[in-house]
């Protein structure tokens, strides 16, 4: 996956230093001339999106009558005869691009019929202009003419190599008088036929080059991506769209005020606002923005490619006000203008790390704020004519601001990496930014930048979650059900059911037992009981005012020792049949069955909602337990919320499926018992063992005890629920693949996905999943607020990725200096979850995976959690873990492990190409840490070994010259991107095309090939091996 295919390679150094254009003006035997780096840059870009008109410009006119084809032909002949540049053709020779001027007598521009049969005139014009020009010596001008009921339409498409936006008006100025004269039978005016040589661009000036070098020193283009939209692939599509916004009166007023206040020209004010907007969306803060500059100088009438895109470098500091930023933008803007005559493309290959591939462009954002040429009234041959817009359907930049001083409208042109909603929201924020800056040019930008009123309203609405809690604590909730329905079934376990009254009785006995053992309020009591006894044990601990530490008796004895020591547990409650190892240094062990001895009950301790209720241990990096302490209010609020969301009420059966020693085990039980429902214990076989067995066991337990609700514990494939139609399922959105969701929905399940972290009461965000697309998004649960923060803590608006932060009673209790739980004025104490998320316009939060699990591979960003979710969705896979293994050069290769008993299908279907692991390793058992989670250190060692042995090594085929040549043939014939492993026939090749392929390969290598060889060896790598054999 480390091939460099698709990367734009810089020109070889020797060609990079060639002199500028030297177009021959002589009409005899024109020679090929070298091209400039700026011209080559266009060509290289075109190779990324072959067969498109990415570099084409179009102009169109509609007249109020008929255009005469004969006159048009004659007029065009005169205009192209006059302008040498329009007769310039380009040709690729191997790795180089050369050009020459075709003598006027030999150059003809055909007039094609313009096809207007599409669904709109705009699209028809775009389609005409977007047809690619071949750089094989053919003209780079195309003219189409169509009759139209509203008047004839003329459309001219020209390649950027010989044209630019300014040329559009110049062309019309040259063309119309000639047409008029011929149509009227008048002689063509002399000045309209005077030959115009192509304007040669000046030699690069050393002073300019020095300026660009100094300006761009140390710039790293890696930080230019916005935190919204989709990640950029290795192979861009460059498709583009536009969104526009008319600035309101307040914003227009603000722009005028700002020019005065900060003493900067309008362009600089707009540039500063644009830079602040980009930075607030994640680009920079060290930004380079491109800006096109007309470099015709005195030759104002020269048609051709005479625009340089200058890089303007601006550092945005959110601690500063707009005034300081606008000053810097002004200076950078003016400096760039002064050195615009030398294209920065002259430095290609010289600036380290810049421009070597599509991913490392010097700038990704364009600032196109130019005075607009007055359109004026046009007339042709006495007919009124109007200029029609010909939209280019591409965008070479992630975002381009198009505006002009004469218009109060801002247009954002954007590439396919951004969604329309993102861009429209950015336009709103741009306007808000101008208004806020004018109110106080010195107020630090960080407080306001990047937000519009619409953002604020949507996020505040989503966080309007305040609701009275049904019960302040779980014991209080339970007690209310004991009073209301004492004989209702509370816990069903393997055919045996106990009532609320019985659980209450046992809990009281436990409380008495604990008092007898000297347990006081605030003490930690460990419990190691079968799941059927969890409710009574935990309630008993809570009635003693103690804090419950759930243990798993099946865990390694040394881990249990560490847990007990670390927690300073006062006692251990053991349940029926549970034997803890004798040699682990236990505190007093209190068997639960000893609690059923009748005796005077000890009164309950008062339970404060804010007091600690339980402590959950996970295994830290040093092997020591890491504690998470959860409060009564947090637990009661969470189970109360989900009882309402999942429809749990009196009599509802809730499956208890989670592993002991997790908070999820308590959640399962008290989701039922705080709402009058029944906790149905899933047999152990439903948690471990082969997926088929788990599913069957679950089905049996659910049917036997009429369980209709289940929360899927972490690491459990939700697939095992497919045999349970009609179930209400709460699954972790980060572990549920859309495919599994689809199957569960198809099976008639009512599906909810939720999200929380190990330092909350399990779940903090949740929502109903009506379609598979809904997986992975939800709203904050009751009394919980969410926000998305930038690394510097700034709150981020809708659509922008950042760290999910949560506030509310469900957060773990923590030390005041715990960096995961900071406090600020606006949000109070909150939890930085380490999870990547964004707001969606509908007020839901979409979680995107752990921040420390987002890795950059050779093919782009990958979320390891997503890889695991897809693997977990595969039949036969019982657990999955994906790891990023660092590779030389700072990138990573993803290795995924699938725990599977059988030879299950763990291929990469269902993953986007970016997320395909370098290798998938099957293991009978994942190595695990003492608390049962996959052991990442051990996996990393296995992953390195797998990469050394396996297919994950960098693909040697990609560096093979023959393979590279073959890939190029693949690319040409298939008109699509290809790699060493692209199957010709899977990518649109067919037998006729295969014949062309065979012939081309024969020409390339001199080896005779049969068609059958192509069929048998359909990839460049395979065919190269065949050719060498």
């Amino acid at each position: 996956m480390n091939s460099d295919l698709g990367a734009v390679r810089p020109p070889e150094p020797d060609t990079a230093k060639t002199a500028t254009s030297n177009t021959a003006t002589s009409n005899s035997a024109p020679a090929n001339a070298a091209t400039t780096n700026k011209e080559k840059a266009l060509w290289l870009l075109e190779q990324l999106v072959p067969e498109t008109g990415v570099n084409n410009l179009g102009l169109a006119l509609q007249v109020s009558g008929r255009l005469r084809p004969d006159v048009l032909r004659a007029a065009l002949a005169i205009v192209v005869g006059r302008f040498e540049v329009l007769r310039t053709v380009f040709r690729t020779t191997g790795a180089d691009l050369v050009k020459k001027v075709v003598p006027a007598g030999e150059f003809a521009v055909e007039i094609e019929p313009l096809d207007l049969s599409g669904d709109s005139l705009e699209r028809d014009l775009t389609a005409f202009a977007d047809r690619s020009f071949r750089l094989d010596g053919r003209p780079l001008v195309r003219v189409g003419l169509a009759a139209h009921p509203d008047g004839d339409i003329l459309c001219v498409a020209v390649h950027h190599l010989v044209f630019d936006m300014v040329s559009v008006a110049l062309f019309l100025q040259a063309f119309i008088p000639v047409y008029d004269a011929i149509a009227a039978g008048r002689p063509v005016p002399a000045q309209a036929t005077a030959p115009a040589s192509a304007l040669a661009e000046p030699e690069p000036k050393p002073a300019d080059l020095a300026y660009w070098r100094e300006t761009l020193e140390g710039f790293e283009p890696g930080g230019l991506d916005l935190w919204c939209g989709t990640p950029r692939g290795r192979q861009p599509m460059l498709t583009g769209e536009s969104a526009s916004r008319a600035l309101g009166a307040e914003a227009q007023q603000a722009v005028v005020q700002l020019q005065r206040a900060v003493r900067a020209p309008l362009g600089a004010v707009m540039l500063a606002a644009y830079a602040a907007l980009l930075a607030s969306h994640g680009a920079g803060p060290d930004l380079v923005v491109g800006s096109p500059v007309n470099v015709r100088g005195a030759n104002t009438a020269a048609i051709g490619y005479h625009v340089n895109v200058v890089p303007i470098r601006i550092r945005v500091d959110f601690a500063e006000g707009f005034r300081a930023l606008a000053r810097r933008a002004r200076d950078a803007f003016l400096g760039a203008m002064a050195h615009a005559d030398t294209s920065v493309d002259e430095l290609t290959g010289e600036l380290p790390g810049i421009g070597t591939s599509w991913q490392t462009q010097l700038f990704r954002h364009l600032f196109n704020f130019l005075p607009e040429a007055p359109a004026g009234e046009l007339s042709i041959d006495g007919m009124a004519a109007r200029v029609l817009t010909v939209e280019n359907p591409h965008s070479k930049f992630d975002l381009e601001l198009v505006g002009s001083p004469s218009r109060a409208e801002v247009v954002f042109r954007y590439s396919e990496t951004l969604a329309r909603a993102d861009v429209e929201a950015m336009l709103g924020r741009f306007e808000a930014l101008l208004v806020a800056a004018a109110q106080d040019p010195d107020r630090p930008l960080g407080g306001t930048v990047g937000w519009s009123d619409a953002d604020r309203r949507a996020v505040d609405r989503a966080n309007g979650t305040a609701a009275p809690a049904a019960h302040p604590t779980v014991p209080a909730a339970f007690r209310s059900w004991v009073e209301k329905a004492p004989e209702a079934p509370a816990v069903a376990d393997d055919g045996h059911t106990v009532t609320y009254r019985q659980v209450d009785g046992t809990a009281t006995a436990v409380r008495t037992l604990l008092a007898g053992a000297g347990v006081r309020a605030g003490d930690v009591v460990a419990i190691a009981v079968p799941r059927g006894e969890v409710a009574a044990a935990v309630l008993g601990v809570w009635r003693a005012g103690a804090v419950c530490l759930p243990l798993d008796a099946g865990h390694d004895p040394s881990w249990l020792t560490r847990q007990l020591t670390h927690s300073r547990a006062k006692a251990v409650l053991t349940g029926t049949g549970v034997q803890l190892p004798a040699d682990i240094g236990l505190p007093p062990v209190l068997p639960l069955d000893g609690a059923s001895v009748p005796g005077p009950a000890t009164p309950d301790e008062a339970v404060e909602p804010t007091a600690p209720a339980c402590v959950i241990h996970t295994c830290g990096d040093d092997g020591q337990p890491v504690s998470t302490v959860l409060s009564h209010a947090g637990i009661a609020g969470t189970v109360g919320h989900f009882a309402a969301e999942l429809g749990v009420g009196p009599g509802t059966g809730v499956l208890a499926l989670a592993a002991p020693a997790t908070f999820d085990a308590l959640f399962d039980v008290f989701l039922a018992l705080s709402a009058g429902g029944r906790s149905v214990v899933a047999p152990d076989e439903a948690r471990t063992g082969a997926a088929a067995l788990r599913a069957a066991t679950l089905r049996e337990a659910a049917e036997r005890h009429d369980a209709t609700v289940v929360a899927v514990p972490p690491g459990t494939p939700a697939r095992i629920l497919e045999g349970l139609p009609g179930l209400t399922v709460l699954a972790r959105g980060d572990e549920l693949s859309p495919e599994t969701a689809e199957r569960l929905l198809a099976a008639g399940c009512r599906l909810h996905s939720g999200f929380g972290t190990g330092r909350t009461t399990g779940w903090a965000v949740s929502g109903r999943v009506a379609t598979p697309d809904d997986v992975g998004r939800g709203r904050p649960i009751a009394n919980t607020r969410a926000f998305v923060a930038a690394p510097d803590g700034r709150e981020l608006p809708i659509g922008v990725h950042g760290e999910l932060c949560l506030a509310g009673p469900g957060l773990a209790l923590s030390d005041p200096d715990d960096p995961a739980f900071p406090a600020d004025e606006r949000h109070g104490r909150h939890h930085r979850t380490g999870e990547l998320a964004r707001w969606r316009p509908d007020g839901t939060i979409e979680w995107l995976g752990r921040i420390d699990r987002q890795v950059v591979t050779g093919d782009g960003p990958v979320d390891l959690g997503h890889v695991e979710a897809v693997l977990l969705g595969r039949p036969g896979v019982t657990a999955a873990a994906a790891l990023a293994v660092p590779q030389p050069g700072g990138e990573h290769t993803v290795v995924a492990f699938a725990e599977t008993a059988a030879d299950a299908d763990v291929d990469a279907d269902g993953l986007t190409p970016l997320a395909v692991p370098g290798q998938v390793v099957r293991l009978a058992d994942l190595p695990r840490t003492p608390d049962g989670r996959p052991d990442r250190d051990a996996l990393l060692r296995l992953a390195r070994k797998a990469l050394e042995q396996g297919t994950g090594r960098p693909d040697p085929a990609a560096d093979d010259a023959l393979v590279r040549d073959l890939v190029e043939i693949w690319r040409q014939l298939l008109s699509t991107e290809a790699t060493a492993h692209t199957d010709f026939f899977d990518s649109g090749g067919h037998s006729l095309l295969a014949a062309v392929l065979a012939q081309k390969v024969e020409e390339l290598t001199g080896t005779s090939l049969e068609l059958g060889d192509v069929f048998k060896h359909p990839t460049p790598a395979a065919l190269a091996a065949r050719l060498r054999a």
Binding site: G876, D903, A995, Q999, L1011
Partner: protein, 278 residues
């Protein structure tokens, strides 16, 4: 092992149990094949060997009868050592699959399951449609007039009163050669290349026309048929190759997936797991 010239091995047998797949495995086609299916089925079929037919080297001029193909596949090899538990056919391959299953049933005493994917029979229009496909693929290489000529000529061929399928196939191949000559000359390819492509086409035409001489109705009748949405569309539009076949089919499972993906889609795998035990 059965005759190696007639069968290619998708999964080597680890027991005496075999699955056979009948298809015209033209490399380079877009449709998924039995190899894709075997990959998808994974462990579910790991107990069986899986073989796929290799077409015999036969020319149209040999005017092969329908049983020429089945003879070729079943002739040699140690069949007595194996039990064929299922014979599958894709498209027109279903016709041959039915025939093979019938013969094996007699030979081995147990009837293999017949599983058909988009089972079709051959007719003249099917031959004609291949010319349309070729014109479509060649795109702008042909002028509108040339394309029109080819379409007209193909219609004439299949419209010739009482023309037989083999005769029509011979003429269709001639037309194909004529058009390929134009195309290859125009894009500057050697005649040898053209001949390769034409030979491939001829081989496919032979396969199609020989199938028309087999009566698959018995095998079709006891088959499990899995069909695609494209198949259903053709059926709705009244295409005879599909309508005639579908009338004869046994148990049928219609899936909402395209013809090209029929042998690689998850829903096919599920249908097979649920309904085809062997």
């Amino acid at each position: 092992m059965p005759n190696e010239n007639a069968w290619s091995v998708i999964t080597a047998p680890t027991s005496n149990s075999l699955i056979l797949g009948v298809d015209f495995p033209a490399a380079g086609r877009r449709e998924a094949g039995f190899e894709d299916l075997a990959k998808k089925m994974g462990p579910a079929w790991s107990g069986h060997g899986f073989l796929q037919t290799t077409p015999p080297p036969v020319r149209l001029a040999d005017r092969p009868a329908g049983d020429f193909y089945t003879e070729h596949w079943l002739r040699d090899g140690a069949w007595e050592k194996y039990e064929v538990v299922a014979v599958m056919g894709y498209c027109v391959g279903g016709v041959y699959a039915a025939e093979i299953a019938d013969r094996l049933a007699e030979r081995q005493g147990t009837a293999p399951k017949v599983i058909l994917f988009d089972a079709q029979v051959t007719d003249l229009q099917l031959l004609e449609s291949e010319i349309h496909k070729m014109i479509g693929l060649a795109g702008p290489v042909f002028s509108a007039d040339e394309a029109e000529h080819a379409r007209k000529r193909a219609a004439e061929i299949v419209g010739t009163p009482s023309i037989g399928l083999l005769d029509a196939a011979v003429e269709i191949v001639d037309l194909y050669r004529e058009m390929a000559s134009i195309a290859f000359q125009r894009i500057g390819l050697a005649d040898a290349r053209r001949d390769e492509v034409v030979l491939l086409f001829e081989s496919y035409m032979t396969w199609l026309s020989a199938a028309s001489q087999i009566d698959p109705s018995q095998g079709f009748g006891r088959s499990l048929a899995i069909t695609s949405s494209d198949y259903a569309d053709l059926e709705k539009s009244g295409a005879a190759t599909v309508v005639d076949a579908s009338k004869a089919l046994g148990r049928r499972i219609s899936l909402e997936i395209g013809h090209v993906d029929l042998l690689r889609d998850d829903s096919t795998v599920r249908a097979l797991l649920d309904h085809a035990e062997f």
